[in-house]
């Protein structure tokens, strides 16, 4: 145990090894300076043909697809040239996601539900992708892509019902808040276990290809989750079978309290994971809705023309806490969100629309107000169906539904036992 012991295997002519453990640049109290973060100029990164071989543009995994420049102009080969109507629709969706997040975060703080997760600062990642995909394409999201549902026009009341586990919750109160499942909107059931959706998306895409379908799959996970084995299994399968799937890695720099260095970001980019698997890789400014749109549309075209999978790293920043259970002030500098060099995705798209004369501050403020009202109205409607903890919203015996398609004897017995218990207890639940 003594540290002055020199074991026989230590070779005196060699320097001792040392273990490297990553450390983020800034901790609480530190002044933030992001000048080290290399940000290529908008328009600078080339756009290969979608029919090009993946190994002919591996440089893109180390650059950054950016369309919106500092003056709010859309520039370069990746400019998707969207109509002003489309741009406004995208802006509206992103602002709606933010308004929804604000409201539901507050609802959790008011004790109306157990848990909530915002995607503040990352709205472009999900919203722009939803606009670039076909509605029929299948999404396998993580917990931070509520923007897909909002952009696909899914009912906010339905989402809130799930958050409240109330009588109208289509998931019958069985799942943690925000772990939505919306098959009708091409949105796979969210898992609490990280990265499990990745190989599932590949399987869906392989099935679509095997059946001669035209639909593709897209999946999302955080940069921290790329460490999970499921991520790597997915990449291998997608590469082997050239599956029509889009892998989105949302690099928001943090995984709860662990900075991206603990997922390997100090050595290479996340887009570069694609290079080793021989699949197409793009690194994109995730706070630039036009870049996200263009990259997604490009990847979708590759997938639809049997060119196989694309991995897109969305370089962005988690502007708020991991979830309602988290306090980022404990582990990162409070100055980070505002110092983030890629700005705010909503502000950037807004500035672009203003710069091209298709929007103004007054309309934006009016829209924000209108969206807040819409969210408030939806909340009122959802709360009429109850909030978590205030009474029992699901029939007690529904606890046993859905374990299997048909209930085996042992579950029927347990169900009967539970009803008998509740009756015996005389608790208010039993009388429901």
């Amino acid at each position: 145990m003594a540290s002055d012991r020199v074991p026989a295997h230590l070779k005196p002519n060699l320097p001792p090894l040392s273990l490297y453990v990553p450390e983020p640049k800034f901790r609480p109290g530190d002044t933030v300076d992001f000048t080290q973060v290399a940000i290529p100029a908008a328009g600078e990164t080339r756009r290969p043909d979608t029919a090009d071989r993946a190994d002919s543009f591996t440089d893109l995994a180390y650059q950054m697809v950016r369309v919106l420049d500092e003056n709010g102009q859309a520039v370069g080969p990746w400019n998707p040239r969207l109509s002003p109507d489309m741009l406004r629709a995208m802006l509206r969706s992103m602002a709606l996601v933010r308004a929804f997040d604000e409201r539901m975060f507050r609802a959790q703080r008011q004790g109306k539900t157990s848990f909530y997760m915002k995607c503040t600062g990352e709205e472009a990642v999900a919203v722009a992708a939803a606009f670039a995909l076909d509605y029929e394409d299948m999404c396998f999201p993580s917990y931070r892509q509520q923007g897909l549902l909002i952009a696909r026009g899914w009912s906010m009341v339905d989402m809130m019902n799930q958050i409240y586990s109330n009588t109208a919750d289509r998931l019958h109160g069985k799942q943690l808040p925000i772990m939505y499942s919306v098959k009708e909107a091409g949105f796979f059931s969210i898992s609490g276990n990280l990265a499990t959706q990745y190989p599932q998306a590949v399987g869906w895409a392989m099935a679509s290809a095997a059946k001669g379908d035209t639909r593709i799959a897209a999946t999302w996970c955080g940069e921290g989750s790329t460490a999970e084995g499921d991520f790597h299994s997915a990449c291998t399968f997608a590469s082997v079978y050239r599956a029509p799937v889009i892998f989105n890695v949302v690099n928001n720099q943090w995984a709860i309290s662990s900075f991206s260095g603990f997922a390997g970001a100090e050595s290479t980019t996340f887009a570069a994971r694609a290079v080793g698997y021989g699949i197409a890789g793009l690194r994109v400014d995730g706070n630039d809705a036009l870049a996200v749109y263009a990259a997604t549309a490009w990847a979708a075209e590759r997938a639809r023309t049997n060119q196989g999978p694309t991995l897109i790293e969305h370089f962005t920043y988690r502007a708020e806490g991991h979830s309602t259970s988290d306090d980022p002030g404990q582990y990162r500098s409070a100055g980070e969100p505002t110092a983030w060099p890629l700005g705010d995705p909503i502000a950037r798209l807004k500035d672009h629309l203003i710069a091209i004369g298709e929007w103004d501050e007054e309309r934006h403020a009016a829209q924000d107000k209108d969206l807040a009202e819409q969210v408030k109205a939806a909340q009122k409607e959802a709360e009429a169906n109850g909030v978590l903890g205030h009474g029992l919203h699901q029939p007690l015996d529904s606890l046993f539904d859905g374990v299997f398609e048909e209930m085996p004897w042992h579950l029927r017995e347990q169900q009967a036992q539970m009803i008998a218990e509740e009756t015996a207890s005389g608790r208010p639940w039993a009388r429901k």
């Binding site: 276990n193 921290g224 606890l399």
Partner: protein, 344 residues
């Protein structure tokens, strides 16, 4: 057993933290690793302060790969270190299953003792915090089924520290499941009443220094004559409150270690009382209660005056909103108590 008489009030998190602190101070080969355990000190704060005290090469954050965390711990163990990895929630231990089952548990056997896996896997488990199906599970039965892994579950701060120290010192792989519902206080099963704090409980008085509680030794937490209740973790406190309310003179045994099991204490008790109730929060089918029931039947059959009762979670995933209907609380235990005492 203690080398210092000093003790202080601790909740279970603090006791667990103290166990690691004491052990890291004694043994430079102990390393603590896991998601968010380093600078931040863990999502439940169990490793708070350890990194600043022992440095980043002994207390470090890991990539988010449970398979990697356990595999790396096995490799560090092969070198000669004594890793104490944390799996953030027991619900996230499944990606590590191959490294635990095929590797950690088998290493000693397959290498004839050349290599061992002296690792202690800490992980918060159990429900009652509205955590939904991925922050609530009790998967201990999966691990007790695997030969070569020890499974330990404390029910008080005092036991948590003493057992964790014993687990860390043990040369075999140990799963140390921490009942997160009782991190702050001995929850009695009444979700609609305030929970007592550990500062008001005698077992919240914890020595600050080194002591250990031998693995494989159960504790009779309440001697009694009418029946034997076998429980562990949170359910020890729930069972105690139920029998107190019912006025039944039960003998309550806190198993503390599931593998290896203290069969002698169980046998002696059931042979004395003639009745045995088993309580766990985990699902029923193939749960650890099934093993306990079989053992008691094999060894105490001629002493039994009533069928063995198993009170467990239902065979469903842990539901979010109906979690108190799922939880084997006072009502379910109370009904089983009536049944087992019917002819007494």
């Amino acid at each position: 057993m203690t080398d210092t008489p000093e003790s202080t009030r601790m909740n279970m998190i603090q006791a667990i933290n103290s166990a690691m602190d004491v052990m890291m101070d004694r043994d430079p080969d102990i390393v603590v690793m896991g998601e968010d355990v380093g600078y931040f000190g863990g999502v439940f704060r169990a490793t708070a302060g350890l990194q600043s005290k022992y440095g980043k090469t002994r207390v470090f954050d890991t990539p988010i790969t449970e398979c990697g965390i356990i595999g790396v711990a096995v490799g560090m163990g092969a070198y000669g270190l004594r890793p104490v990895p944390e799996i953030q929630f027991a619900d996230y231990i499944y990606p590590a299953l191959d490294q635990l089952v095929s590797e950690a548990a088998r290493l000693r056997y397959r290498s004839a003792g050349e290599f061992t896996a002296p690792i202690t896997v800490r992980s918060p488990f159990g429900g009652g915090i509205f955590g939904g199906q991925t922050h609530s599970q009790s998967p201990e039965g999966i691990f007790t089924h695997v030969s070569g892994i020890k499974t330990v579950i404390p029910s008080t701060p005092y036991d948590a520290k003493g057992l964790l120290i014993a687990a860390i010192e043990d040369n075999d792989p140990t799963i140390f499941f921490e009942p997160k519902r009782i991190y702050n206080g001995p929850f009695d099963g009444h979700w609609d009443r305030p929970t007592q704090n550990w500062s008001q409980h005698p077992a919240g008085d914890v020595p600050t220094g080194y002591y250990k509680i031998e693995l494989g030794k159960a504790k009779v937490v309440r001697p009694g004559e009418a029946l034997t209740i076998l429980a562990y973790g949170t359910m020890v406190h729930v069972a105690l409150s139920v029998i107190a309310e019912a006025g039944v003179d039960a003998e309550v045994i806190d198993l503390r270690t599931l593998v290896p099991l203290d069969i002698e204490t169980i046998e002696a008790s059931v042979q004395k009382t003639g009745r045995c109730m088993i309580v766990h929060e985990a699902t029923r089918t193939s749960g650890f209660g099934a093993e306990l029931s079989a053992l008691v039947q094999e060894r105490c059959f001629y002493h039994l005056e009533a069928p063995i009762e198993r009170v467990t979670g239902f065979d469903t995933p842990y539901p979010h909103s109906l979690e108190w209907a799922y939880f084997p609380g006072p009502v379910r235990i109370g009904e089983a108590l009536k049944k087992i005492m019917k002819d007494a």
